[in-house]
């Protein structure tokens, strides 16, 4: 049987298929449908230092082959996660990776510090790309100095695997990636959502309460693939590929473009079991193509 394991720094994933933050809750919501132990990892819902109610309803707009969301990081705060949620999910035989957020560098640090010593948390994903919050969020991720600064600050307080999640809403994604690499990130994950908007022509109003929101789903896959490929060739750290993955071939494409690990996001809304199908499909692909180790595919795009 083909070897599906992949590695980021010292962290081994049994397979490269993980669930994207904000699209799998804390894993519990998935258990009526799938066994989370079969996944490479769970990037759980974005956490902040304090409880956040998120943005007012409506927060979602369907688009062609995609959707906009403006959740605004609704969560009960990192302490609630540690005290109430983690005990319920800590037995999952998969990596639980929190996605951390803040409106100031200080808030990011506070969240990271609280997660640093937890034995079941081997890594964090630093989200500097949320387009749906007024303060912080994407602002950190769209200039090199701010991306560098927040990554460096977290690096100082967080010794385990540090993944930085990049915003696609920038002119030069590779420069941001290099900045966070220089600041000590162990990996980059991309892409977060593209900033978009939906209008109801009949009411003449924006569909979202926040007017703009983040676009996800297959619509953005071509942009995501391009950015993964560009970043893979510009940095020395592993890349986690995200954006519109709906099936195994999509995941393979991201790996060929340079991803070591992939995250399945919006696809789970339509089929909560899709991540397991992606794993199975990757296995089938490897068998058909006589590839014994999946990780050999990473960056294997043939260009001449």
């Amino acid at each position: 049987m083909a070897d599906l394991s992949v590695q980021i720094k010292n962290l081994v994933f049994r397979n490269p298929v993980t669930l994207a933050s904000g699209t799998c809750g804390f894993g519990e919501e998935m258990t009526p449908f799938i066994n989370p132990d079969l996944l490479g990892g769970l990037f759980v819902k974005g956490l902040t230092i304090r409880n956040r109610e998120g943005n007012p309803y409506p927060r979602m707009a369907e688009t062609a082959s995609g959707m906009l969301n403006a959740i605004g990081l609704q969560n009960k705060g990192v302490d609630y996660f540690i005290q109430d949620i983690l005990p319920r999910i800590r037995h999952y035989q998969t990596h639980i990776i929190p996605n951390i957020n803040g409106s100031t560098v200080k808030e990011y640090i506070q969240v990271a510090e609280k997660l640093a010593d937890l034995d079941r948390i081997p890594a964090i994903e630093l989200n500097i790309s949320c387009p749906n919050v007024k303060a912080g969020g994407m602002e950190f991720g769209i200039t090199c100095p701010s991306a560098f600064a927040v990554t460096e600050a977290i690096r100082k307080v967080y010794p385990k695997v540090l993944i930085v999640k990049l915003s696609p809403n920038v002119t030069h994604i590779t420069e941001i990636a290099k900045a966070v690499e220089d600041a000590g990130a162990d990996a980059v994950s991309l892409i977060n959502t593209l900033l978009g908007m939906a209008i109801n022509a009949d009411t003449r109003k924006p569909v979202l309460s926040t007017v703009t929101g983040g676009l996800s789903g297959p619509a953005i896959k071509p942009v995501a693939l391009r950015m993964v490929w560009q970043v893979y060739r510009s940095v020395g750290i592993p890349v986690i590929g995200i954006g519109g993955i709906m099936n195994a071939l999509d995941a393979i494409e991201f790996m060929l473009a340079g991803a070591s690990v992939v995250q399945v996001g919006t696809a789970s809304f339509i089929d909560p079991t899709v991540s397991l199908k992606v794993i199975q499909g990757i296995e089938d692909y490897l068998n058909i193509h006589h590839i014994s180790r999946l990780r050999d595919l990473t960056g294997g795009l043939i260009t001449d």
């Binding site: 699209t23 799998c24 409880n51 007012p56 409506p58 979602m60 369907e62 959740i71």
Partner: protein
């Protein structure tokens, strides 16, 4: 957590009730999970679907023994148009059973169900339960006109049916919430349930508050996932934002802050 599945559902019969109103019965060849009154399903509208996301519909009727499940669907856009245009034999997938269910006080003697538009959908399963435990049910069903006042015959088997239409073509002329039954017999009801357009449910809630009758509302917020992971479907409650898909669709009206 309770089991939920991505079920294969085979279209069995589509019964037109009026222009744009349909009952759609599906059969499952792998068996049906038990469902509760108030639960809903997230249906794919076709293969390929004309819309990106699934569409939520209350479970109108279900017979686990016969592996049949029925939805009442009103066509309002692309997804419902595609779904109701499917042919018998077509296989679609559906996530179910989703959401919570109505509470049924065992001591309720007189229940009132107020439904507007497609809001009748969740109430067949509920009234069957109510009838079984001996609760008398009054239905107050409102629609735009006589044409769109559907399924009243079905509900008649479970209780008294009062109707209203905006154009007066049948029953009381006016909004369902202005129906004289509400002023005449208000004090007689010891439980109210409602589903329909938000302004209607707000009026129902005010009426129930005033008359101090316990009231449950079934909300229809737009949804992406339907099982609690995307946080799209929230409604404001006194305890903060709550997901309509997992902590609802049925809410005690006192909990809602009606931000939507």
């Amino acid at each position: 957590m309770a089991n939920k599945v991505v079920a294969q559902l085979i279209v069995q019969e589509i019964t037109p009730l009026a222009a744009d109103h349909f009952l759609m019965r599906f059969h499952s060849d792998t068996g049906l999970l038990p469902v509760d009154a108030g639960n809903f399903a997230q249906l794919a509208t076709g293969d390929p679907p004309a819309v990106f996301l699934r569409r939520p519909f209350s479970i109108f009727d279900a017979d686990t023994a016969l592996s049949m499940i029925t939805f009442y669907i009103k066509v309002v856009g692309k997804g419902t148009a595609q779904l109701t245009g499917q042919k018998p034999g077509t296989r679609l997938t559906g996530l179910y059973p989703l959401g919570n269910s109505f509470t049924i006080p065992t001591n309720a003697r007189n229940a009132l169900i107020i439904a507007g538009g497609s809001g009748v959908a969740p109430f067949l399963l509920l009234s069957r339960k109510l009838k079984k435990q001996g609760t008398h049910v009054t239905f107050l069903i409102g629609a735009k006109n006589r044409e769109e006042l559907v399924l009243t015959d079905v509900f008649q088997e479970y209780g008294d049916v009062e109707t209203s239409t905006e154009d007066g073509s049948e029953g009381f002329k006016g909004l369902v919430t202005e129906h004289p039954i509400l002023s005449r017999k208000g004090q007689l009801f010891d439980q109210v349930y409602s589903c329909g357009p938000v302004p209607m449910m707000k009026a129902v809630s005010r009426w129930a508050l005033k008359n101090d009758i316990p009231c449950e509302l079934s909300l229809e917020n737009t949804m992406a996932c339907g099982y609690g992971v995307c946080l799209s479907c929230v409604t404001g409650t006194t305890e903060g934002n709550r997901c309509v898909c997992t902590e609802g669709p049925v809410f005690n009206h006192k909990l809602l802050t009606w931000q939507t």
